[in-house]
């Protein structure tokens, strides 16, 4: 546990002494801010319109602002997290610093978890800072806090799964670009896996639907917490980290 902390602290420090974390967080906030602004503007005009409508319907800020916002954020995460994770192992291998790590009395698993935790810290910072936007909705509206928190939990779990995949692809190569592109490709594939369910019959349809990362996010984006989704993202992360461990071990044994 102590070793995990040492590695994690070092990686977080690297993220924040180099421009990586700042750039990733800044760009993420700009994009999320833009989406938030345009969705809120649309929601405002919709509210006015509906207020004048004699067939008045219930309008819901959680469903009409937060659900689409969270969906947009998940796509931005899909695009950006591979860039955050690409260096984690690829850079160590390129510069030979893995030789220092693995000749020190720390275990491979501790190194993996330390690096994973460091990327989670950056993810938490990215998501946490977008929380400021909710200041406006709470000031001039009355959204459901629990539903928002569920959405954030979903984003965090999904981001964690993306990061785990990124750690895995980073362990496969010395080249950061290769790591980033393969991570992105794999994540996108998992994201759209459920599209295939339209033309694939039988049990495979369910399998593909279950494996798809976007399928499990829908509920959480609209504020519904389903343990099945939580279990899915956790097992996704677990599996990716497990593969990473096997890759690093087998590389050294070859």
């Amino acid at each position: 546990m102590r070793n995990i902390g040492i590695i994690a602290r070092k990686e977080v420090k690297t993220y924040f002494t180099s421009p990586i974390a700042y750039v990733v967080i800044f760009v993420f906030l700009v994009l999320v801010g833009f989406f938030f602004y345009s969705i809120i503007s649309w929601f405002n005009s919709k509210s006015i319109e509906m207020a004048q409508n004699p067939y008045y319907q219930q309008i819901n800020i959680n469903q009409m602002v937060y659900a689409p916002l969270f969906n947009n954020m998940s796509i931005i995460l899909l695009l950006m997290l591979p860039l955050l994770t690409m260096r984690l192992f690829a850079e160590e291998k390129k510069t030979g610093t893995d030789e220092l790590l693995f000749t020190s009395p720390v275990h491979v698993l501790q190194v993996i978890l330390g690096k994973y935790a460091a990327a989670l810290v950056v993810l938490a910072a990215m998501l946490g800072l977008t929380g400021l936007l909710s200041m406006f909705t709470f000031l001039w509206g009355n959204p459901e806090l629990v539903q928002i928190l569920n959405g954030y939990l979903g984003l965090f779990l999904m981001g964690a799964a993306f990061i785990a995949a990124g750690v895995f692809f980073s362990s496969l190569t010395k080249n950061q670009i290769v790591a980033a592109i393969s991570t992105f490709g794999a994540l996108l594939l998992f994201w759209i896996l459920n599209w295939a369910s339209y033309f694939i019959p039988g049990i495979w349809k369910d399998v593909l639907n279950y494996l798809s990362t976007s399928q499990h996010f829908e509920g959480m984006a609209s504020g519904i917490l389903d343990t099945a989704d939580v279990v899915y993202y956790l097992s996704f992360s677990f599996f990716a980290l497990f593969l990473t461990h096997s890759v690093i071990q087998s590389r050294r044994w070859r």
Binding site: T14, T95, G96, T97, D98, E99, L100, L101, P105
Partner: protein, 308 residues
């Protein structure tokens, strides 16, 4: 302190290390000598637990490298061939991080850092980023990180590579000063490094052991002769038989205006030789010892004609 028995390492089909056995005694500096691609780095990586061996046994301070890797890693300091530096860290940050992963307790890290900075002469650059310091300093940081947890064993892979002559001397002096408390194994492809810093040597080529032992043992077992090379101003013709006449002299030969006089190891005839040259007024310009015979052996190995 370091024991290797029948060690072998295969990379796919390539046999990098083949049936290698040697021993290093406690408190000594041993050189692992061999031409490039002889298997030096692979051997060191196995000893430090970075790579597993395909066959054979290796133990460090009594701990088997394969069964007790953590114990070995705790008491071993390792400088890889490429100094493992994180360019975005300062010298102090980096060394503190290394101390932490080498399991130096957090209360002792500051002291360990101070000591490592002092021993390796890095105090003046401790707050500089690693990407901004010179090659010589980077190498020292490499040695400092190997020393930070005060290991019993130091394994240094080509510690002086890429340095200028002054830096090479500094690093060699630094390594020599560490002798005694630490058992040191360093690899090199330069023979002079071994004769100047090491107590003993393991010579390998193409993964196989060519010779090993202390420097004295090796020089006696390979040839067992000593001698001097003389440069005289005049009198070459009469000099050859005259030197030959000195009791104990084995062989006198002349080449390129220089005389090589050899005798059986153990008798020191330098005084007799120089006295004769001066008495006869031949004009003694230069006198230097004949290179150790281990050099011949090494050159034979390096040039590919490995016999023995």
């Amino acid at each position: 302190m370091i024991e290797v028995e029948h060690l072998a390492k295969k990379y796919g089909e390539l046999l990098a290390v083949n049936d290698l056995s040697f021993k290093v005694e406690k408190g000594k500096i041993w050189g692992l000598l061999g031409p490039n691609a002889a298997g030096k780095t692979t051997t060191m990586r196995i000893l430090t637990g970075f790579l597993p061996a395909t066959e054979g046994k290796a133990s460090v301070a009594g701990f088997d490298v394969f069964e007790k890797p953590d114990e070995v890693k705790k008491i071993t300091g390792y400088l890889p061939e490429v100094v493992p530096l994180y360019p975005e860290m300062t010298v102090s940050e980096y060394l503190t991080f290394v101390a932490a992963i080498k399991q130096v307790p957090s209360s002792e890290r500051k002291e360990a850092l101070g000591k490592a900075l002092e021993v390796s002469g890095l105090a003046s650059v401790k707050n500089r980023l690693l990407e901004n310091i010179s090659r010589g300093y980077k190498q020292r940081v490499g040695i400092a990180q190997a020393l930070i947890h005060d290991p019993q064993i130091l394994i240094l892979d080509e510690p002086t590579i890429g340095l200028d002559p002054a830096q090479i001397k500094e690093i060699r002096d630094l390594i020599k000063s560490l002798k005694g408390e630490h058992t040191i194994m360093l690899s090199t492809h330069i023979l002079a490094e071994v004769t100047q810093t090491c107590d003993g040597v393991v010579i390998i080529n193409e993964g196989r052991l060519m010779a090993s032992g202390s420097l004295e043992e090796l020089t006696t077992s390979f040839g067992g002769k000593e001698g001097v090379i003389l440069k005289l101003k005049k009198g070459h013709e009469e000099a050859v038989p005259s030197f030959q006449a000195i009791p104990g002299v084995d062989r006198v030969s002349r080449q390129d205006g220089e005389l090589t006089i050899e005798w059986v190891r153990g008798k020191d005839l330098r005084e007799a030789v120089s006295r004769l040259a001066v008495e006869r007024g031949w004009g003694l310009l230069e006198m230097r010892p004949v290179a150790l015979n281990i050099e011949d052996l090494y050159l034979r190995i390096v040039s590919g004609g490995a016999e023995q």
